[in-house]
Symmetry: C2
Subunit: 147 residues, 2 copies
DNA sequence: CTTGAACCTCAAGTTACTTGAAGGAGTACG
DNA sequence: CGTACTCCTTCAAGTAACTTGAGGTTCAAG
């Protein structure tokens, strides 16, 4: 088995976890990662545990969890005397938010579609035309394009 | 007809356009709104033109356009010698971005769904259980929940 | 004339990093 | 051993689009 401990520089760790090196220093600064041990020269060193923790953080961020949520999830992932339900609830709430956002974006997509379509229908004319595209947008109703 | 000019305080304008008062000051500061005339006491005053402009900005922001895009759209909406195609293109590009974001969110929704489902299936147990939910997330593959 | 809401400016906080400047550490080559 | 080159260090500031707070002034009503 692999009994030897891999040691990473900050750059190697960054590449392995798929984040940037300033991001790692930032995570250390805000306490998501523990202060890394240093070489005699002051450079940070990491091991596989750090890679695991950082990878976990990265995955959570990819899931769209905010830093504070990641903090909670990290804690939950370490303590053994807490149940999974809390984690599930966090994920569920987050899922609800994602769905909310999805609904908003879908509505926005439809509105933008309409906008572009009306543009294409009414504004095929070249330059020099007096485009009235925005007249409708200065009133609180729906946006229009080119009259 | 309405020949009298409506005059707004910043608060009234904010309410009419659906934004906050600090936001209006901020828009003035960054040049989206012209510097407002002041009363003798130094308070800002606005009229219907300002309401129109601010409403336009609000609509654009609701459409998801960034401040810099709004700047361009404002200019396009004022100049008469430019054609509508430029506007359409900006909207089209933005629509593409929205669709890209939608695709990402949909994917994220599916992943979160899976996460929550696995949580419910495996983690119905109460507190005190040793939750291994995060073991999978410390490796670069897909996230898992509760083994 | 006094009260209270709404207004003023200026500075800092928010999120999650990124970017830049100026300089030190580590490694390989000759 | 020198030097070249990459990677590392810290610290400060920048990003987007505002929000929040402190401390003080103006306006309209009663």
């Amino acid at each position: 088995m692999n009994l030897h401990v891999r040691v990473f520089t900050i750059g190697a760790l960054a590449k392995a976890a798929g984040v940037s090196t300033p991001t790692i220093r930032y995570y250390e600064e805000i306490g998501l990662l523990p202060p890394a041990p240093r070489t005699a020269g002051g450079q940070r060193t990491y091991d596989d545990d750090d890679l695991g923790r950082l990878t976990f953080i990265k995955q959570c961020r990819d899931f769209g969890f905010g830093i504070d949520q990641v903090r909670v999830l990290l804690e939950l992932s370490i303590s053994t005397d807490r149940d999974c339900v809390e984690t599930r609830d966090i994920a569920q709430r987050h899922l609800d938010e994602v769905r909310q956002k999805l609904a908003e974006l879908r509505s926005l997509e439809r509105r933008l579609e309409g906008f572009v379509t009306r543009c294409n229908a009414a504004c095929a004319g070249g330059p020099g035309q007096d485009c009235v595209i925005f007249k409708d947008m200065a009133v609180p109703a729906k946006g229009g394009c080119c009259g």
